[in-house]
């Protein structure tokens, strides 16, 4: 039974989303908080990630938007004096912080009990030597690894084991600093990098090609154990599980293998003494039952979130309850509500997880996937055949793919198969087309033949489809067969009608209408955890063609509303849209409607079946949304809270008479279509940066002559690298157009005037029938040119003219009226002096909605949803001018995971997450938020190299302040000369490509520098290449890096004015209650 001495509990979140630590921890933390509150326990949460669901009202009792680091958490503990602390729900960040608090004796000092798995057990799993020793004690096989502390030791170990070997940095997130080495040279290079992340590096024999299998194991304090799910990686060992396609349950394991590994997982969890959840990863020999334990994660993980969604078993919720003292058998299965939580889910479907990469967004990054994680999100697809699930999944990742077939082709197939990138699975499809046999593909990829055969089956069906010329020629039987194999109407249209052009909507509708006429429509099935053995009132649903009846009834009463979710997390669209979706759902339920969510991202709260009345864990494609619409016949569909994916469906849904709630899709189109929007702006004399859509190089040159440089170029077809670019002169423009982009009638290029030294302002608002109801104005710390998603945002604005604010509001009101906006919208402005220009208008919720809603403590989405439901709302009494504190949103970058990527801010968004912190003033807030995304206050030495004169000038004051505080300033020669001329003495370091000493490279490598400030002159390639080495070394050697002068100044001014001890430890309520 439950312990009775726990009344107040502190939960540590995972902070900003980053590669390897993403939305899954919002889901697990939210579940844990729900479990605690259900027990009447007071909850305190530390998490600076303001966009999450867990940092919302009524999820935790007290929320601190502060860094999850021992120094801040100690202060929260001292203030709140909780009885217990949960460490395993906030990823590696929370776990590392918890271990540090334990080691520093802070938990003991304040008498805080670690709930669930004891810290000692966590340490046992994190320290490879202790862990291996623990495994040896119970005769479990593990990869023999040598823990090394120097490069020389690593070299020796590798030679003992024999190449190939794998290196891993101990205590590192998701394989950071790890990789394969085939020889001494590769080892030396990788080892020196790995030692920058950890002082222990493990050298292991490589088991490349073995199957990779995971088990999610749960144990209670009575020693009862279950494995909730096992999963098999489609990609064999060698590719990080976060980079692998994963299926659940395992597909190629016999009963004997399945249960052998299951039994070992239980043996391990018992021996280590986990109370709660852990994850065990195995390598399994594809030619025998030989196995190795690769890793145990003594906490909730990405895999456990996936397992929860794959099975319907709420792992985090149960783990929290077990920590409170319950036994598994004392808890109910939350899906069936009648059976016990002490069971192992039986699936009657198959689940496929596919990672989502965004490697195109980064300059210079290697696209190869391997033992380090690079993906930024993932999707989960459910089907009753593997073919169905994988084809759904390949569409869900949303990179323009239509399933396994019907995509653009891969150039070098053999290379792609042996040295995989994010495109490997499509290369397999192309390999079939080029006559590669299953055996040959297996030899090249080591992917189990079972999977390759399944893909071959899809390919063969595609070939069969090509033999037809009209959909009517297909027999009903064959049409059903291909739908069962996951072919979309789009793929059918493309393969049957042999389309080469992009827009085949009309043929797709032809296919759809024909198959509906023939009665070939999908069925809705429940996920019930017990494969229909017990009746379950579950609302967790998916859609399949492998069935003959629906599990549920439909009510044609117009009392339900469908909300379209945001799909896979990717750069530019992540947890913030989950917050928006969840809040739309909450409002819909509050107003007495049944809420229906469609989404397929396993890392989200919106795909928690507890959140809504019906959850369709399925595609957000036009076809699938219509399928669900046809069955549910809701009052309407909300497309404006899930970011760009649902927004893009608005017009098409409207065209087939689906009621889209809120602003009319016709007006959404007016805002989205560049030409229509400009026309509208021109009509009302609203200024925009000058732009033109051009199809000829000569026209581009003429336009450049007219408006001058720099220019922003946005090609519709890129040959390589990033899609957008800024060019500073004619040579660069010519170079870009020649090498990177195609210009033609079919592929026009949009050229926009690039305005320098302008402020950028975000305007988030909600309107009803064209009347502005509520709004928030945020100012960017960086000047325009840094993507708004990478900018540091200040709300309320700190340095905007009143006149600028007035003009912005005026334009926003005007456009709201003209577009008859009913719902959320966002505008971006440029402000220079008092002139304002509109950059863009989105008739949907934006990335900053949760941030401004929480700072203002006014839920913008609730207003927007009410409006979309047709409820008349009145504007709230408070406005941003009432705030007595400042909120600052700062971006989180994951460059350390993206080998070779240039860590520079530009017109393409590069950040993977964000935080938002509150402070008494600007400096306090900026310091808290920057510390939250991993910046550290430098101890002594700072390196500055600044290109442009204006940035050098900008840094004068801050550098003076640094000197006064006794910091040592190191500079490149030019920068040093500039400071010298201005009366500030700095030490000169030579460029890394210079042989002379003292050299920047040595200083960085030896960790003699605590902060690197490197400001490139402009975003041209030559300028960027010049300083690339400095920036990349800073990242690789884990030294904080700033590349924007205005942000660097703000940070310096903040930490020279405030120390960490000066910062206020105040909860969200303490700030906002005074409003």
């Amino acid at each position: 039974m439950k312990f009775n001495d726990i009344h107040k509990v502190l939960l540590l979140g995972s902070g900003a989303l980053k590669i390897g630590e993403a939305g899954e921890f919002d889901y697990s933390g939210s579940q844990a908080l729900k479990a605690l509150r259900e027990e009447g326990i007071e909850t305190v949460l530390v998490n600076p990630n303001i966009a999450t669901v867990q940092t919302s009202e009524n999820v935790a009792d007290k929320i601190y938007f502060l860094p999850v680091t021992p120094e801040f958490v100690e202060k929260v503990i001292a203030k709140e004096r909780p009885d217990g602390i949960l460490l395993s729900f906030g990823g590696q960040t929370a776990l590392n912080c918890g271990v540090a608090l334990h080691r520093q004796g802070i938990l003991e000092k304040y008498n805080v009990k670690v709930i669930g798995t004891p810290v000692e057990a966590i340490i046992d799993t994190e320290d490879r030597d202790i862990f291996n020793q623990k495994l040896a004690e119970i005769d479990v096989n593990f990869t023999k690894s040598h823990a090394t502390e120097t490069v020389e030791e690593a070299l020796k170990a590798a030679n003992e084991l024999g190449y190939p070997v794998i290196l891993r940095a101990a205590y590192a997130l998701g394989g950071l600093g790890s990789g394969f080495c085939n020889n001494d040279d590769e080892l030396k290079a990788l080892a020196s990098k790995a030692f920058t992340y950890s002082n222990q590096v493990l050298v292991e024999k490589s088991l490349k090609g073995w199957k990779e299998i995971e088990y999610e194991v749960v144990r209670d304090r009575y020693d009862n154990c279950i494995t909730v799910c096992n999963m098999e990686n489609f990609d064999p060992l060698g590719i990080h599980t976060g980079e692998s396609i994963v299926v659940a349950p395992s597909q190629t394991l016999t009963n004997s293998e399945f249960h052998k590994l299951r039994a070992i997982a239980i043996k391990i969890i018992r021996h280590i003494g986990i109370v709660g959840e852990c994850n065990v990863q195995y390598a399994l020999d594809p030619n025998s039952e030989d196995y190795r334990v690769i890793e145990v994660n003594a906490r909730l993980s990405r895999s456990s979130a996936l397992a929860s969604k794959a099975t319907g078993y709420p792992l985090a919720f149960v783990a929290a309850k077990l920590g409170l003292g319950y036994g598994l058998h004392e808890l109910k299965n939350t899906v069936t509500k009648v059976t016990t939580a002490c069971f192992e889910p039986a699936l009657d479907y198959c689940v496929v997880k596919i990672p989502r990469w965004d490697l195109n967004k980064f300059v210079g990054v290697s696209k190869e996937i391997g033992s380090a994680m690079k993906s930024v999100g993932e999707i989960m697809a459910i089907g009753r055949s593997f073919e169905e699930a994988i084809q759904k999944g390949l569409r869900m990742i949303g990179q323009g793919m239509h399933g396994l077939l019907g995509n653009k082709h891969i150039d070098d197939i053999s290379k792609e198969l042996t040295e995989p990138t994010d495109m490997r699975i499509f290369a397999i499809a192309d390999a079939f087309a080029n006559g590669f046999s299953v055996d040959k593909i297996h030899d090249l990829t080591k992917i189990d033949k079972w999977f390759i055969c399944k893909l071959k089956h899809i390919f063969d069906l595609g070939e069969e489809l090509k033999k037809f010329n009209k959909i009517e020629e297909l027999s009903d039987e064959f049409l059903l067969e291909v739908k069962k194999a996951g072919f979309s109407d789009f793929q059918l249209a493309k393969l049957v009608y042999k389309h080469t052009k992009v827009d085949i909507t009309s043929d797709m509708m032809l296919v759809r209408d024909y198959r509906k006429k023939r009665g070939i429509t999908p069925f809705v099935k429940q996920i019930d955890t017990l494969a229909a053995e017990y009746p379950a009132q579950t609302n967790y649903l998916y859609v399949t063609y492998n069935g003959s009846e629906h599990d549920i009834d439909f009510y044609d009463d117009k009392k339900s509303v469908i909300v379209l979710g945001s799909g896979a997390y990717r750069i530019g669209s992540s947890v913030e849209f989950d917050w928006c979706g969840v809040n739309a759902i909450n409002t819909i339920r509050k107003r007495g409607y049944r809420s229906i969510m469609i989404n397929y991202n396993p890392e989200t709260v919106s795909t928690d079946y507890d959140t809504c009345d019906r959850l369709y864990f399925d595609e957000l494609s036009f076809e699938r949304v219509l399928d669900i619409y046809d069955l549910e016949m809701p009052m309407g569909v909300v497309v404006s809270t899930g970011g760009q994916i649902p927004n893009n469906l608005a017009m098409r849904l409207y065209q087939v008479n689906v009621p889209v709630l809120g602003t009319s899709p016709l007006n959404i189109d007016k805002a989205e279509d560049r030409n229509k929007f400009s026309e509208l702006c021109d009509k009302f004399n609203i200024d925009q940066p000058r732009w033109k859509e051009l199809t000829k190089i000569e026209d581009i040159m003429t336009f450049a002559d007219e408006v001058g440089f720099p220019l922003l170029i946005r090609p519709s077809y890129v040959l390589s690298g990033a899609a957008m670019s800024v060019v500073s002169n004619k040579t660069e423009l010519e170079h870009f157009l020649k090498l990177a982009a195609t210009v033609s009638k079919q592929y026009p290029v949009v050229v926009t005037q690039f305005i320098e030294n302008a402020k950028e302002v975000d305007f988030d608002a909600v309107a009803q029938n064209g009347e502005l109801i509520i709004y928030a104005i945020s100012e960017h710390q960086e000047f325009a040119g840094v993507h708004s998603g990478d900018a540091t945002m200040l709300f309320p604005p700190q340095k905007l003219y009143v006149e600028t604010v007035r003009r912005i509001k005026h334009v926003a009101k005007l456009l709201a009226k003209q577009l008859e906006i009913s719902g959320p919208f966002n505008m971006q402005f440029l402000a220079k002096d008092n002139d304002i220009k509109v950059i863009e208008l989105n008739l949907r919720a934006s990335r900053s909605f949760p941030f401004v809603s929480k700072v203002l403590k006014t839920n913008f989405i609730e207003y927007a949803t009410d409006i979309m439901l047709g409820i008349k709302v009145t504007p709230p009494a408070k406005t941003l001018f009432d705030l007595e504190y400042v909120g600052i949103k700062a971006p989180q970058f994951s460059f350390s995971r993206l080998a070779k990527a240039d860590p520079i801010l530009g017109v393409e968004m590069a950040s993977t997450g964000e935080v938002g912190c509150l402070g008494e003033n600007y400096y306090e807030a900026i310091l808290k938020s920057m510390l939250s995304v991993g910046y550290k206050i430098p101890k002594k030495n700072i390196l500055i190299s600044s290109g442009p004169m204006k940035d050098k000038v900008q840094l004068l004051g801050p550098v003076q302040a640094l000197k006064e505080k006794g910091f040592n300033i190191f500079c490149t020669r030019g920068t040093s000369n500039f400071f010298h001329e201005n009366g500030i003495e700095t030490s000169i370091l030579n460029w890394p490509d210079d042989d002379r000493k003292p050299n920047i490279a040595d200083y960085i490598r030896d960790h003699k520098i605590d902060l690197v400030i490197n400001i490139p002159k402009n975003l041209s390639k030559t300028e960027l290449d010049k300083d690339y080495v400095i920036r990349r070394m800073a990242i690789d050697f884990n030294i904080p890096l700033l590349t924007n002068a205005r942000l660097a100044s703000a940070f310096i001014m903040a930490f020279t004015k405030y120390s960490v001890d000066d910062l206020q430890i105040k909860s969200w309520n303490e700030y906002s209650n005074n409003l």
């Binding site: 009862n224 025998s288 192992e344 009753r384 229909a532």
Partner: protein, 361 residues
């Protein structure tokens, strides 16, 4: 699909499910039951407890890892639970025509064909399972090539007699002598004994083992209604008068109960899965077990000399009984697993411990 033979499953309530044949193309009838395990089709198909039954797999993807070879160890096929397939037919949603496993020698389809067992795929096994759950296990028949068989109710037959060995057989050469009453024993049980230094004397279900010299008595699993096994029950009643350790599994559990004078009954649709939670009564010990049974002990009928040892956490049914003073116990679930979780394998150790205490060996 064009070259596939259509086949259908007709239930006694008139429901008909259309699919395609992937096994032997012949008509067959039996009792339709479902199993929710996600692995272990090889083990299930050769489990004698399925005698007379048409097995529905709720897990949709079947055949993935093929069928292993027929290597023999200790006088038993190494990878099978008996020497043949016992199910009448197999119903799945998505048959995997291609298989992949280092241990596989043939496809599931070929194996079914060799053994003249029909297999159907392309059926909504979830819909079918829900029907069986709501209406209870039903009779069914496979119609193939327009051949329709007669209805067949296996519960009216003495199935145990059909699957039991005909003559005593000895396995292993261990220190402890255990008589195994074969009501349709799974090989995994025998393997578990051999592993524990036991010599097994496997005797037919109606064999009078009282004349044999032995240290412990084991009553095996098997198909059908336990009340059919009248001779077995009376032999066990005699054994209950002695002090020699007795252990029963599944049907053996029901037979032990009947021999002790308790009652059994037929469950609506039985337990057939790898995820059944059983609680050891009076403790907080809960085990995940493999199960395959359609009958159970009536909990109310147990007398004061015995305790209800394990109960099912989900539906409260009896999962095992234990004598208060004598070394007799039995469980409804399968501690030998195969397929399924091996978490309760310790019961074999417990039994050997009782034998040690009894014999002093």
């Amino acid at each position: 699909m064009n070259n596939l033979t259509k086949a259908e499953l007709l239930l006694e309530d008139g429901t008909c499910y259309q699919g395609y044949s992937f096994g032997y193309e012949g008509p067959v009838a039996g009792e339709v039951v479902f199993n929710t395990a996600m692995t272990g089709y090889t083990e299930s198909l050769t489990d004698p407890s399925y005698k007379g039954q048409i097995l529905v797999s709720t897990y949709p993807l079947i055949g993935n890892y093929g069928i292993p070879g027929d290597e023999v160890q200790d006088g038993m096929p190494l990878f099978f639970e008996s020497d043949r397939i016992h199910v009448q037919a197999l119903i799945v949603s998505d048959y995997s025509f291609e298989y992949s496993h280092w241990n596989a020698k043939k496809s599931l389809a070929d194996w079914l064909k060799e053994n003249k067992v029909p297999g159907i795929f392309g059926i909504d096994t979830r819909a079918l399972t829900k029907r069986l759950r709501e209406k209870g296990s039903m009779l069914g028949k496979i119609i193939i090539n327009n051949q329709e068989p007669e209805w067949y109710d296996p519960n009216k037959d003495n199935l145990v007699a059909q699957v039991s060995c005909k003559e005593p057989v000895t396995y292993g050469n261990g220190k402890y002598k255990v008589v195994l009453v074969d009501c349709g024993v799974k090989n995994a049980i025998i393997r578990n004994f051999i592993k524990r230094d036991v010599t097994i004397t496997r005797v037919p279900y109606d064999y009078d083992f009282s004349k044999l010299e032995y240290d412990g008595l084991f009553i095996s699993n098997g198909p059908g209604d336990p009340k059919m096994c009248k001779q077995t029950i009376s032999h066990i009643s005699e054994a209950l008068k002695q002090e020699k350790p007795i252990f029963g599994i599944c049907l053996g559990n029901q037979l032990l109960a009947l021999a002790a004078g308790f009652d059994t009954y037929k469950l609506k649709y039985g337990h057939r899965s790898h995820n059944q939670p059983v609680l050891m009564t009076g403790t907080d010990k809960c085990f995940i077990t493999s199960q395959n049974h359609g009958f159970a002990i009536n909990l109310q009928s147990i007398d004061d000399n015995w305790i209800p040892w394990f109960n099912n956490v989900n539906d409260g049914t009896s999962e095992g009984i234990k004598h208060k003073s004598k070394p007799f116990f039995s469980v409804q679930f399968h501690p030998e697993a195969c397929g399924g979780p091996v978490d309760t394998e310790f019961l074999f150790d417990d039994f050997i411990e009782l034998i040690k205490q009894y014999t002093g060996k």
